[in-house]
């Protein structure tokens, strides 16, 4: 499988697919970080299960 060949089933090349995957990973990390911050602050404001 060469670098520029399109790969089944998406029609992306390997490089394109890996780049898209990087965006997915970085987006997930950012969302995770935001969610962690929001939960920590919300817990400080109104602790649940207490």
């Amino acid at each position: 499988m060469s670098e520029n060949s399109k790969v089944w089933p998406t029609g992306l090349t390997v490089g394109e697919a890996e780049e898209l995957h990087r965006y997915l990973i970085s987006g997930t990390r950012t969302f995770g970080f935001i969610a962690a911050c929001a939960h920590f602050l919300a817990y400080t404001l109104t602790p649940w299960l207490k």
């Binding site: 490089g15 394109e16 780049e19 965006y23 950012t30 911050c37 929001a38 400080t44 404001l45």
Partner: protein, 464 residues
Amino acid sequence: MNPLTSKIIHGWASLGPKFLPFADAATPEMPLSRLLRLSLFQVSVGMAMVLLIGTLNRVMIVELAVPASLVAIMLSLPLVFAPFRALIGFRSDTHRSFLGWRRVPFMWQGTLIQFGGLAIMPFALLVLAGEGEALDAPRWIGLAGAGLAFLMVGAGLHTVQTVGLALATDLAPPEAQPKIVGLMYVMLLVGMIVSAVVFGALLSDFTPGKLIQVIQASAVVTLVLNVIALWKQEARNPARTAFHLPQPSFRESWGSFIEGDQALRRLMALGLGTAAFSMQDVLLEPYGGQILGLTVSATTTLTASLALGGLIGFSYASRVLSRGVDPFRMASFGVGFGVPGFALVILAAPLHMPLLFGLGVLLIGFGGGLFSHGTLTATMNLAPRDQVGLALGAWGAVQATAAGVAMALGGVIRDVVTGWAGPKGTGALLGYASVYVIEIALLLAALLVMMPLLRRRGATAQVV
């Protein structure tokens, strides 16, 4: 192959691209509907700006009783990122990608960061104010949370606006640029006005729960608007973002940019003019109330007339600049309207004529509109094709920094002069008047800096 199968296969193949976020090809003609859609990112930027400068400024001081100095520090945090706009623009110009995108990744990441900042902001503010159980929490949690929230909103806002304007410049043919600049400014203003009204109405009877709902709703609206704005706008061009292309350093790139076509002089004129047109921003309403004795509703119409002047300025400038008038000539006209505007505002107090004040404010709005439009159009026109992001980043860095610093300085100068002259009698008037006089001086300095830009253009026009 039977007709049904061929139909299904054809339908399936044409279905694919419809749901993909890139444009099919770079079309020479940009339809207006697509431009309108792209300009939606300015609505989200305007919304965040109103939230920072207007709504939260008041809510934190009045409803949440946070000390005013702490509020001022927190609200100025987004300004920290303004100078980095040039770097963001440069990075997007030289982005290396297999997918062939240069603007979309940055706009998406900026959107995500702005969303994140707005998502954690209400909790951070309530913790900072010691609401609920947060009264016993350590102080640093509220400070760090609010600081992080404001920094994230600032970083996202500046990234989205810089890269969005660069994308608009990429897409538009040069002769359409004045119209696009006008559209971008009008959408920014629309976003600011609509969100100010909506925030005001929603927060009129304030509860902590409502604050959370309103700010988090604005986070979601930001995400939705920006995704709609950038969907299918940028065509993929892997040849332009190939990894083997030479990658200049920021220093080299900036060096070649600043050498070209009087770039430094243009940025200086932009900085001086922007500072002159924004120093009075937070002082007009208290001036009307304190010095001229206007009611609250009367001073609110002032803000409206400032915005109205701006709108008239943008639409006039769009029309005239589309006919090929030199944008710097337009910017200098704007400065020309600003000087009498500020003079009228000063004169209104000794003459006791509030109408003069209103007229002055309208002139300032109109002049500011012409000036902003002219300088941004000139930046787009003169941007080297491979440095569009850097050129618009530099424009945004100077513009945002000058506006922010001038706004802060305006308040400080008024307080210092009033304190020195005594709060009674003419002391208060002197405080405001000194700011307006400084603004006139800054406008004249901007005009002086712009002169060579004008004459040179006139000379080349005669030669041709």
